[in-house]
């Protein structure tokens, strides 16, 4: 016995006690740091969306949104600082400076002046502040500058933490956001419906029915998965633009390419062609992806159920609706969620197929107003938050399906 013990190779001592605690602790620490880094951009997105726009591009960055307020004509209004009148401590002279020239040096107020091309700091104190009311966007270009400027005492200015939730309302007004949401919803939901119905029917045919040419056609489906989207997109784009003309020619109508408006005059798009819901929703319904995934899943369903049902006189369609579909609800849910998310976040296709702002989906609308919002980055961030929220909701609700779906099909999120 002793000899055997001596021949055993030395066991690496297991971590126990203090070492294990340190290892666990540092794991949590590392993960927390990484999570902080990953989530910080979202914190920034949300806080910037409720800031006042003069606080976005500042150095150092403003971590907690603040807003300057002043009492003007008896009302407490959010204001923008246009300038200061300062009194130089040394000479007693009063000069007017820009906001960024008033700084703190050595714990006291000072002004930064340019003398012979070099920066010079002189002790000074602010005697009066020139402000104007700050309203983010409900004035036309140029009108903002004509708002009256007021001179107020420095101590009439307050700078509390303040969240401008009205930025969201402004973002919504400035741009047909509500309509874009509806568009995205219509497109995504109809695409989900289309995919679930057509793909499950087809997958059933590939998985459970016998018919000539079945496997060859399925192979053709698979082959197209390799083809880049850009290749098929160009001919489909051409098809979409030409379709109304073709159909109108075929039926002798003028309907298919006509612009439709609601009773209140809002643009409703066309039945087909560019700026149509058809063009937005339909082409994406027919990728081989859903059919492939469901076919693989259907093949795992035991044939016994089907055989038992057929013995009882169930039709083929009955097998589909009463046996295969109910057993496939997790796979269908997964496919539905992926289709929804893919459609909501789709960018290129809606971009090239829509020209009128009323027919754009949320991501495209957001982008097309990037230049319009221009200096109003806060509204742009509000729009971005609005773009991200539905995705978050769908993901958090369908998390289980999502994670399982990734493992079933190795799907790209």
């Amino acid at each position: 016995m002793d000899l055997d013990q001596a021949k055993l190779p030395a066991r690496r001592p297991r971590r126990h006690g203090v070492w294990n605690k340190i290892a666990v602790g540092s794991t949590y620490l590392f993960l927390t740091i990484v999570v902080a880094g990953m989530l910080f951009p979202f914190y920034w997105m949300v806080t910037t969306s409720v800031k006042s726009s003069d606080n976005v591009f500042v150095d150092p960055p403003q971590w907690v949104p603040r807003q300057r307020f002043a009492m003007i004509d008896g009302k407490r209004l959010p204001v923008l600082i246009l300038g200061h009148r300062v009194r130089l401590t040394e000479s007693g002279e009063q000069i007017e400076v820009e906001p960024r020239q008033l700084v703190r040096r050595g714990g006291r107020q000072a002004v930064r002046l340019e003398v012979d091309g070099r920066a010079v700091f002189k002790a000074a104190e602010s005697v009066a502040v020139r402000v104007r009311e700050q309203r983010e966007i409900d004035l036309a270009e140029g009108e903002q500058d004509r708002l009256d400027a007021h001179w107020i005492k420095p101590d009439a200015l307050s700078y509390p933490v303040h969240l401008r939730w009205d930025n969201y309302a402004k973002a919504w007004q400035a741009v047909p956001f509500g309509r874009a949401y509806i568009n995205s919803l219509i497109v995504s939901l109809s695409r989900v419906l289309g995919v679930l119905i057509t793909s499950s029917l087809a997958a059933f045919a590939f998985a459970r029915l016998e018919w000539p040419g079945r496997d060859k056609i399925f192979f053709a489906y698979l082959a197209t998965l390799m083809i880049p989207g850009a290749v098929t997109m160009i001919p489909v784009f051409i098809l979409i633009t030409k379709m109304p003309v073709l159909l109108d020619g075929l039926f002798g109508t003028h309907l298919f390419g006509a612009n439709f408006y609601s009773l209140t005059g809002t643009y409703l798009g066309r039945p087909m062609g560019l700026d149509s819901y058809f063009a937005l929703a339909v082409p994406g319904m027919f990728t081989a992806y859903g059919t492939f995934m469901l076919r693989q899943f259907f093949r795992t369903i035991a044939r016994d159920y089907e055989e038992a049902a057929r013995i009882d006189g169930c039709s083929t369609f009955g097998v589909y609706t009463r046996i295969v579909l109910p057993l496939s609800i997790p796979a269908l849910a997964t496919l539905g969620i992926f289709t929804f998310l893919g459609s909501w976040r789709g960018y290129i296709w809606p971009l090239i197929i829509t020209f009128d702002d009323h027919m754009k989906t949320v991501p495209v609308l957001l982008r097309s107003f990037q230049s319009e919002y221009g200096t109003l980055y806060t509204l742009l961030m509000a729009g971005s938050v609005l773009d991200v929220i539905p995705v978050l909701i769908v993901f958090l609700i369908g998390q289980k399906f999502f994670m399982r779906g990734i493992q079933i099909g190795g799907v790209k999120g």
Binding site: G37, W44, P61, L201, W211, A230, V236, P363, V388
Partner: protein, 312 residues
């Protein structure tokens, strides 16, 4: 097989089921592929009649300096694929320890990838703002810290780091995009795939390694890495296939393909030709070239992978 009238019935039933999907598939997927091949031999601006150009498009493409430059851009951006892969693997290994609360971290890690889109692109434009963005602010803070240390140890050297111009600088634009891609990709589907694969590694392997006195690195090299190699192979191939086709949305939103075309990828180039300049034939030619490149790259990957991937 199925005989006579029963065969016709079988076809009829199958058609009813497959029909809708098959029609859509033909109209929107398979026929367009054939059409794209045809289109590449013509010059067409959608308005006037198409003009046959034979191999002209292909010749122009081979001689097109922009095409090769944008191909370089596309490949450069694909550096993010292996980087992200290793990052995801690392995170998955850490998360696989299954300490309490890991699910919360996993969900948090997933958020950047699920929300990636125009909203986050605009956000990262601020992060990369040369004077007011987070990236350069961090760099400046770091520089200040270095200066504090230098002063503390009485050395005269000071630094004045301001950070690069990021998206305004042709040399830094692509690395900036890669970094953003890593943020969005590291905690995403790849990490989930690795987590699942890690869970399938039999613990007896690790126990055996322990008995033999293997250290952490040896455990990784001889057990974890080989057992993960099928997943790695899959992720890498999908990454290459996707990488050649990608980069459009972020270029369109953040840089407009600039500066000086530094962030224009092949897909962006196709967009320009097809939907800005309405040169459908040439665009189709570029798209087909992209397809060919993807095929070749996938084949190479496959051959290399087959030799190195460890299957049970």
């Amino acid at each position: 097989m199925i005989a006579g009238g029963s065969r016709r019935r079988a076809i009829a039933v199958a058609l009813l089921f497959v029909g809708p999907n098959l029609i859509g598939f033909l109209v929107f997927t398979s026929l367009p592929v054939a059409a794209a091949f045809l289109l590449a031999f013509y010059r067409w601006d959608l308005i006037s009649a198409p003009r046959f150009a034979g191999l002209g498009n292909l010749q122009d493409l081979m001689a097109d300096a922009n095409f090769w430059y944008y191909l370089y851009n596309t490949t450069f951006l694909m550096l993010g694929v292996p980087l992200g892969m290793f990052g995801s693997m690392f995170l998955a290994i850490v998360l696989a320890r299954n300490l309490p609360g890991m699910w919360a971290y996993r969900t948090a890690f997933f958020l950047p990838s699920i929300t990636a889109g125009v909203g986050t692109f605009i956000l990262w434009q601020w992060i990369y703002s040369p004077d007011f963005g987070l990236a350069n602010w961090l760099i400046r803070q770091f520089g200040d810290g270095v200066n504090v240390v230098m002063a503390a140890i009485h050395l005269p050297w000071r630094v004045a780091w301001n950070g690069p111009r990021w998206l305004d600088d042709p040399a830094w634009a692509k690395p900036a995009l890669i970094l953003m891609g890593l943020w969005g990709g590291i905690g995403g589907t790849n990490m989930i795939l690795y987590l699942a694969a890690l869970r399938n590694i039999p613990p007896e392997l690790y126990e055996a390694a322990d008995i033999d006195g293997a250290g952490a690195w040896a455990r990784f090299r001889h057990i974890t890495w080989p057992m993960l190699s099928p997943t790695t192979f899959f992720i890498f191939i999908m990454g290459i296939i996707g990488g050649f086709q990608g980069g459009f949305a972020m270029a369109h939103v953040m840089t407009g393909g600039g500066p000086d075309g530094a962030t224009t990828t092949i897909s962006y180039y196709i967009y320009q030709y097809a939907y800005q300049w309405y040169e459908m034939g040439y665009a189709a030619a570029i798209a087909l070239a992209m397809f060919g490149i993807v095929l070749i790259a996938t084949l190479i990957n496959w051959k290399v992978g087959e030799r190195h991937v460890h299957y049970e």
